[in-house]
């Protein structure tokens, strides 16, 4: 894969999550688009392929697993990282079975998310 900037779509209905994570990810060299609406994010995914998608599991009107399904439908290459404040064993397994790259429980430190994003990026560059 080329050394172009990797593109990330970040979806969380809490404004603060995007506000905190976006600068950190941009500083690390990623291009980031942030959505607080799952519906709008799915529409965007239909028009553009992202390298990495970071999605909350519980978003307002759309389930995060629906976002995951939409990502898988458009691009099996995209790495999807699920984040949630309601993590359970069953949910983690379901997300992985449906193609999630990683599953992270909230609260987490931004540096921990960056490590996972970097891992996804490294894997994308190897493919």
């Amino acid at each position: 894969m080329d050394a172009r900037q990797l593109e990330i779509l970040l979806i969380d209905d809490e404004d603060i999550v995007g506000k905190r994570l976006r600068p950190m990810l941009e500083k690390a060299g990623y291009q980031v688009e942030v959505f607080t609406s799952g519906r709008e994010a799915i529409e965007r995914l239909a028009r553009k392929t992202f390298d990495i998608v970071i999605s909350d599991v519980r978003i307002d009107e759309v389930d995060g697993l629906e976002v995951l399904a939409a990502v898988q439908q458009h691009s099996s290459r995209t790495k999807t990282i699920m984040i949630t404040g309601f993590a359970t064993l069953e949910l983690a397994r379901e997300a992985l079975a449906k193609g999630a790259f990683e599953f992270i429980a909230k609260p987490f430190y931004p540096k921990d998310l960056k490590k996972v994003v970097d891992k996804a990026a490294a894997q994308l560059r190897q493919e």
Partner: protein, 274 residues
């Protein structure tokens, strides 16, 4: 890659399947030798710990407090071991000892009673009648202890992700099924499952440190913060609670301790009877 917990009924080839599954998945096999480490932690001879996990409750037998002490140390040793890397383990009640970890595949190996008795008789060169008696007795004790120590029905298949009938498969084929299931994406380690395992390991280390003082203390942990729930009551309860808190704070990895006291009247009345 998932970790694998194998639970094998008496007369099933649990150790052979576990060793082969470990070889196929490139994991380390952890077996009953873990009991020695747990016994050392509990300050008991390994035979006593073995008895605590394999003999039925009786009036003059091993006390519930001793059994809990043994379990607490076994849990601490086991979860500490799981943090070190890919593992296939076969230890008594392993599927009850490690809960809530999404990258742990729990497997039950079973076979009809008569098939297990036949294997038992062959392996130990005993009569068919003796083998049937021993297998039935082991099943009875297993169910009793699971109910006593974990409030669980050990024959409930919902405790497992995979149930394998070993009378239909040889050791290699059974291990192959287990190893292939372990490679399914749903059992992959994630940041979340790793954190759950680290939290559980810390809670178990704390529980092992406290169980000598209070065998009923409940311990949970999250990111280094430990929460204790104790039923310690009575005249010296304040001093004992302080002691629990101090002991917990001394455990490596503990960043803070929160203690909750539950004033359980029934427990207070029945405790001296146990």
């Amino acid at each position: 890659m998932a970790m694998i917990c194998l639970s094998s009924l008496a007369g099933c080839p649990g150790e052979e399947v576990a060793r082969e599954a470990a070889r196929l998945t490139g994991s380390e096999y952890v077996g009953p030798e873990l009991l020695t480490a747990a016994a050392t932690g509990a300050g008991l001879p390994v035979e006593k710990l073995h008895q605590a996990l394999t003999t039925a409750p009786s009036f003059f037998g091993i006390t519930l407090a001793t059994r809990r002490r043994c379990l607490a140390h076994l849990q601490a040793v086991l979860t500490g071991r799981l943090l070190q890397g890919p593992t296939v383990f076969l230890v008594p009640y392993g599927h009850h000892l490690v809960r809530g970890i999404s990258h742990l595949l729990k497997v039950r190996l079973y076979a009809p009673g008569e098939v297990r008795a036949q294997s038992w008789a062959q392996a130990r060169s005993c009569s068919a009648a003796e083998a049937v008696r021993r297998v039935r007795e082991q099943d009875r004790v297993r169910l009793l202890l699971a109910r006593l120590l974990f409030s669980a029905d050990d024959d409930d298949n919902d405790l497992f992700d995979l149930v394998v009938n070993s009378s239909h498969l040889d050791v290699e084929a059974a291990a192959q099924v287990v190893a292939e299931t372990a490679t399914q994406p749903r059992y992959r380690e994630t940041s979340y499952s790793r954190q759950c395992l680290e939290d559980l390991a810390l809670a178990n280390r704390v529980k092992a440190a406290l169980v000598g003082e209070d065998d009923e203390v409940e311990v949970t942990s999250s990111g280094g913060l430990v929460r204790l729930r104790t039923r310690v009551t009575g005249r010296r309860s304040r001093r004992r609670r302080q002691r629990l808190q101090q002991l917990a704070e001394q455990v490596d990895g503990v960043m803070g301790v929160e203690l909750e006291q539950v004033d359980d009247l029934i427990s207070r009345i029945t405790r001296p009877l146990r």
